[in-house]
């Protein structure tokens, strides 16, 4: 229903009510309101309500199933319609800080190797060192580098990131030969070794997660 239709139909509310009373209909206030609102015969209205009810039930069944922790059960329940709900962006995951909060601080980093043997360290933006304005400007990068890129569940994307880093640092005279992607990290001290918020340890450990080597360069 268009917005203007909604308004127009309500303007006939009182008129509709009078007409129904004249005809001697025993209609409740809700029905009168609905008759006025929809301006459609009651058969169509009922069909519309049934249709919408089916949509509402189907929607909440699918999204509730998509939030289930068991992948097996999830697949069993909604596999026939999963394509539709994921295509419409309705698959849900409300797991922020659940079931446990991560216990490490880290930032992605990479070691870039050049043809002459030179090595260079690349680091993702240091969100821990940013002020509020820089945080605001770089929030989407944080989501990418910290919440997505570093986790093994997104490992398929590491090749693209390594390529992007290599492209950015490539030099015609001294080309990039390999990129070692990883992250610098440090565990957050447990509550038994209580750490103040402004005195957290620096990211002083290095973990390599992926090695990318340009084969075409090697073959040449």
């Amino acid at each position: 229903m268009r917005d203007s239709d909604t308004m127009r139909s309500f303007s006939s509310n009182r008129t509709g009510q009078v007409l129904l009373q004249r005809d001697g209909c025993d209609a409740s206030a809700t029905e009168l309101k609905q008759a006025a609102l929809c301006g459609t015969p009651s058969k169509f209205r009922i069909a519309r309500h049934i249709g919408l009810s089916v949509f509402i039930i189907a929607y909440f069944f699918c999204v509730s199933a998509s939030t289930l922790p068991s992948e097996k059960l999830k697949r069993k329940l909604i596999s026939p319609v999963f394509g539709i709900i994921s295509g419409l962006g309705l698959v849900q995951n409300w797991k922020l800080f659940c079931p446990n909060v991560r216990r490490v601080n880290f930032h992605p980093a990479a070691t870039i190797s050049y043809a002459d043997g030179l090595q260079e360290l690349w680091q993702a933006p240091r969100f821990d060192r940013m002020n509020l304005l820089e945080h605001i400007a770089n929030d989407k990068l944080r989501r990418f580098y910290i919440d997505s890129l570093s986790w093994p569940s997104h490992k398929e994307y590491w090749v693209d990131v390594c390529r992007a880093i290599a492209r950015r640092h490539d030099d015609a005279v001294n080309p990039v030969t390999s990129v070692m992607l990883g992250y610098r990290w440090v565990p957050i001290p447990p509550p038994s070794e209580f750490a103040q918020r402004d005195k957290l340890p620096a990211h002083n450990r290095f973990f390599n997660s992926f090695f990318y080597c340009d084969r075409s360069e090697k073959e040449q």
């Binding site: 929607y59 409300w94 922020l96 079931p99 909060v101 601080n105 400007a137 693209d160």
Partner: protein, 340 residues
């Protein structure tokens, strides 16, 4: 049979009994403002993520995220040139502004939904729960009579009726249920985590250095306070999908206030733009239209007052030029005094 009829009538009353679309209209404005904020946050890196040479390598996303499933991606349909990517951004921004103003609301909301869906489909790795709730909100705003009040559409409607309209609230109800479903799911996930049960989850959450926002003296540096905050988070989240449905204002409104305190507290401590605010904006849908109308009216009165006072100031300003041309400085001074 009687039970079925009773159930059907209750169902109909909940989803379809006409009521004021004011909550949805106010939510539309709040939602639109948050979409604008989200787009502005995305602006500095838009081409980095979505540009032709950006990270959003369509093949990788399609293969590994979508696993070849059908998904809606307007950017994939556009010619592969950054100018079109920028054009897409501008169209999405303009549609959002139209949605806020309530101009061609239905069309604007459809474009906003498809735009947000494209941002997710084309590059899902920079999205979080805030983006998800924005997208879901867009889905329901698109289907609701959100432009029936507080909108340009209503102002320019030819057969404008001064009586506030009534509409079926099923889309608003769906969004309400959706919000409580999110709290329900997150609550159950949390209670399965030892950190939440032991009361130390907020200790770790407040020490994630990449998300640290404002300093919080004492409270977050004291373990007893941290435990109290962790457990109170669980209690508030429990209330937000249970007692929030109690129709009594005495129960529902304090729950909403607790929800606002929770989200403002998180927003102050942890940098999660949009996420906390879209949830708080959705609380508008739980306000009774008559209460919301009082708030909107007092806001209107305040805005009117400001406009009147600025008009008075402005009426003095153009008058200054004409007065300066026609009369002497002495008369100008006396006029100025009178205006003020």
């Amino acid at each position: 049979m009687k039970i079925l009829t009773l159930l059907w009538n209750s169902w109909k009353r909940f989803w379809f009994e006409p009521c004021s679309p004011l909550p949805m209209a106010v939510f539309r404005i709040a939602f639109g403002l948050l979409v604008v904020e989200n787009l502005l946050l995305l602006a500095p890196h838009f081409l980095f993520f979505y540009g032709v040479d950006g990270l959003g390598a369509g093949a990788t996303v399609s293969k590994h995220y979508w696993h070849g499933r059908t998904h809606f991606d307007l950017l994939a349909l556009l010619p592969q040139h950054d100018a079109f990517v920028v054009g897409f951004y501008l169209v999405l921004m303009l549609s959002t502004l139209a949605l806020i103003a309530g101009f061609k609301t239905r069309y604007a909301s459809i474009v906003v939904f498809l735009g947000l869906l494209t941002l997710h489909s084309h590059y899902p790795y920079n999205q979080n729960g805030g983006d998800l709730f924005l997208r879901l909100s867009a889905f329901f705003v698109m289907m609701s009579p959100a432009g029936a009040m507080l909108s340009v559409d209503r102002m320019i409607c030819k057969d404008h009726d001064p009586t506030p309209p009534l509409c079926e609230p099923w889309a608003q109800r769906m969004l309400q249920v959706q919000l409580t479903l999110a709290y329900c799911v997150t609550f159950w996930y949390k209670v399965t985590g030892l950190q939440w049960i032991n009361g130390i989850a907020i200790y770790y959450a407040s020490r994630l250095d990449d998300m640290m926002n404002m300093p919080v003296p004492f409270i977050l540096d004291n373990l007893s306070c941290i435990k109290a905050l962790t457990w109170s988070t669980l209690v508030i989240e429990l209330l937000l999908w249970t007692l929030i449905w109690v129709p009594s204002r005495r129960v529902r409104y304090p729950v909403l206030v607790l929800g606002v305190l929770l989200h403002v507290g998180i927003d102050w401590t942890i940098y999660l733009p949009v996420f906390e605010w879209i949830f708080m904006a959705a609380y508008i849908l739980f306000l009774y239209p008559e209460d919301l109308s009082k708030i909107v009216d007092s806001l209107k009165r305040w805005v009117d007052k400001r406009i009147q006072s600025s008009r008075r100031t402005n009426s003095w300003l153009p008058g200054t030029a004409s007065l300066q041309q026609s009369v002497g400085a002495g008369e100008l001074n006396s006029r100025t005094t009178r205006t003020w």
